[in-house]
Amino acid sequence: MQGVRYYDLRHVTGQVTHIDIDNSVVESAGSSFFNKAVIRVLHKTGWGVLQIDNYTPCHGRKFDALIRSACRLAGITQGKVILGDAPRGILGVPPLTEDPRSVDIEEKSALLSGIEQAAVHPSVVNTRANYIEKIENVQFTDSSGNEYAYEMCRSGFNVLAVASGNGNIQMGYEREHSIHGFNLRHQQALGKKAAGIAVALLEAKAAKGGKMRAVLDPELAGVFAHEAVGHASEGDLVQEGSSVLKGKTGLKIGNENLTIIDDPGIHEFGFDPIDAEGVAVRRTEIIKKGIINSYLHNRETLSSVGHGIAGHARAMPGEPPLVRMSNTFIEEGDATEHEIFEECRYGIFLKGSRGGQVDPGRGIFQFNAEYGYLIEDGECTDMVKDVSLSGEILTTLHGIVLCGDKRIMSPGYCGKGGQSVPVSDGAPHILLDDAVVGGSGVD
């Protein structure tokens, strides 16, 4: 069509199955269906975008009418968007070890109930387990003649135990989500673990806030990489000037032992066979040996900002793609876990994550551990509850003095611009000097 510089269409249909068991009652269980599309057009200036629920694929005049209507919308934009070149190609989706669709929902419900019942304990007043399975069929086409189609299946569960005693109420929470297939079998241990943590936390002390040495477990260290570095390296934030990392490539912000990667191509929970604007996915080294190396980009931010590659555009069904993290991790170092605790000597060991948040423009982040232990003479002693960490992007990373030799990835979801996408974060154990720990405990 005349004057149209570019268009793409991403159409996603699928099905979501869920089961919610609360105190051994099946609260709800069943399937829902969705059909969503997004059409993006570049005409003279910026994007015209149509978000369509219940899209029927069409060609010829009908499709042209949609493109025209997106063009009219694009007419109110002012900033000119230029797209950078990017390689094409789609990765294979890893095969499912067991397809959740081949397991009937009664069996899923019985297995989930087993996990929930494993969290029953005399001090536990509430047990709850959720199963979620999402199947997405994605079809992508663009004005350059690229066409891709793939199917992704993500499934997993959460289990929660709430313990109560002496007017105190605490929770333990475990989760496992996967792209590799049905994962509800033989998981009762996680229910039991959630209960054990909730009960133990009833006796835990409040953490005393202040500056100290901290050992972070792989899950929490992964969230640290995600909040402290990942978001600020997103090309759209760099482009609009709301990241402290803008103009800072080449700057040393951490020790030689620190390398932080985002890689949508590895088979973890944030895997995408191709990005949401049809670009081949590849690994980006955000921090390389302590130096800011690359940003994460889509085609627009690549051409505007540079330093990095496209292939990091992601979207919820029916939503316009944004620059997002996928599988983000701190690379392994050479320290053993024992050496990390020995080197720490006195401090705090923080485990698990209740999430985090960052203000990338100000360069300030906060994230929260599920629980922790005091470290005294290199050994874990008393359990502590409600511990959070905060820091500044440009200075805190220098505090990572040791990285362990074994990395573990944890699945989760990340929110940005009203869209939530599956991600994984990971790291080895790390030792952090001068950690700013928040907690309500006092001497």
Partner: protein
């Protein structure tokens, strides 16, 4: 067009469902929106969105089933899925969906003068940028959107309700050196938003927070803005008032009915019929007529919030607090316009740490109430004036305990989502400096 002409298939669906199940409920949403996004000071993306969704709930012998789709033409598949889903659910005490009541048909959160057109969003964006120009901070991003939606609720007891909603929402982000500012506004009514002020406040906070000073670790008197207060209240305190959380043993307020739970000057209630408020509705997501619900009166906990399901199970009455996040989920317990009220006073006369926003409130412990968050746009305030910006610090405490020692509520309130809140002053809270 009369509603039953527009959605004749809903009657057909109900008729079909009644062959198999005791009761059925249909929730149907249809809406459009237009929005524009700023990249610095230029609009770089414009969107129109057509949303459509159908949620079906079936009840048979106390077993509740549900399904959803955004293709209403596929209602038969969706109905079959809902009926199948009901077979798995644990049966419970169920005394029926609500029968129709003669409620006013005049929508409460609908502005008939609001037009969902691109020209309207551009006008809002220009006004925000005009306001933003009053301070030296640079605009980094922003957005404006206009929307309208029709919500239909029908059930096999004969309920046929429709309601219309409109919405306008605005946001702007700004930066000055390494200091950020953010402001937003939203309403069902165009006249209730002030785009110039949104722009001005965003660049004001970015500009004024630059060159922040350190604060010493220790106990300080704080003043939480409605925005900062909403983060802590909404993530921790409000969920503890849900009947479902109470009966599941997940609420710290569960054992406190009839007793003091906050400072005696505080009152908290849900007012679904508040004039020109964002969440105003005459019937809740299950068709129960709404009414004012007083949760806490002068510090005393009087009731929890219930929907039909939880009420029937625990021999209570629905308080009309069923809400739906969208068409896709089941009705759940929530609120419409949650108001915190009480004796108002001049809260900033004495020196206080003013906290405009916090980072990381969703990481608070929702069961125990413990939190520690990073401060955003915090200042030493004297005589109501922003005096010295604070660079970086954490605030730690317990949301429930904090409510027992409220020192004052500001004269003005502000709507944040469906919360209507004053600024609150709390003395002697723990701040951890760097």
């Amino acid at each position: 067009m009369r509603w039953w002409v527009a959605v004749a298939w809903i009657d057909q669906l109900i008729h079909e469902a009644e062959k198999t199940v005791d009761e059925v409920e249909v929730f149907y949403v249809n809406g459009i929106s237009v929005s524009a996004e700023l990249k610095q000071k230029k609009v770089n993306l414009a969107t129109t969105s057509k949303d459509c969704g159908l949620g079906i709930r079936t009840i048979h012998q106390g077993k509740i089933g549900s399904s959803a789709t955004n293709d209403p033409e596929q209602w038969r598949i969706c109905l079959d899925a809902a009926i199948a889903s009901g077979k798995l659910a644990t049966p419970q005490e169920w005394r029926g969906l609500p029968a129709p009541q003669s409620l006013s048909r005049t929508p409460l959160s609908f502005d008939k003068s609001l037009e969902v057109e691109p020209a309207g969003v551009i006008d809002l964006i220009e006004k925000m940028l005009t306001g933003a120009a009053e301070h030296p901070a640079e605009v980094t991003s922003g957005a404006a959107s206009l929307s309208t939606a029709t919500v239909t609720l029908a059930n096999s007891q004969g309920v046929r309700y429709t309601d219309q909603h409109t919405g306008v929402s605005l946001s702007l982000e700004a930066i000055h050196n390494q200091s950020t500012g953010y402001e937003f506004d939203h309403s069902s009514f165009m006249e209730k938003v002030d785009p110039e002020s949104v722009g001005e406040r965003a660049t004001f906070f970015a500009t004024e927070s630059d060159n922040g000073k350190e604060i010493a670790t220790g106990e300080h008197d704080i003043l939480l803005s409605p925005l900062a207060y909403a983060e802590l209240l909404g993530n921790v305190f409000v969920p503890a008032l849900s009947g479902r959380n109470v009966h599941a043993g997940r609420s710290r307020l569960g054992q406190s009915l009839g007793g003091p739970v906050t400072d005696s000057q505080l009152t908290m209630y849900d007012d679904p019929l508040l004039a020109k408020a964002n969440g105003s509705v005459r019937w809740d997501a299950e068709g129960t007529p709404t009414r004012r619900v007083d949760f806490i009166r002068e510090g005393i906990l009087e009731t929890f919030a219930y929907d039909l399901k939880t009420a029937y199970r625990f021999d209570k009455k629905s308080t009309g607090n069923a809400i739906r996040g969208g068409f896709g989920g089941l009705p759940a317990i929530g609120h419409h316009n949650f108001v915190v009220d009480g004796k108002r006073s001049r809260v900033a006369d004495d020196r206080v740490v003013y906290i405009h926003n916090v980072v990381g409130a969703h990481t608070a412990n929702p069961t125990s109430g413990e939190f520690s968050v990073e401060l955003s746009n915090a200042f030493w305030m004297e005589d109501g004036q922003f005096e010295i910006p604070l660079r970086s610090a954490m605030l730690s405490g317990n949301v429930f305990d904090m409510h027992k020692s409220i020192s004052g509520l500001s004269k003005e309130s502000r709507a944040i989502g469906s919360l209507v809140l004053p600024s609150i002053r709390i003395n002697k809270q723990r701040i951890i400096g760097k």
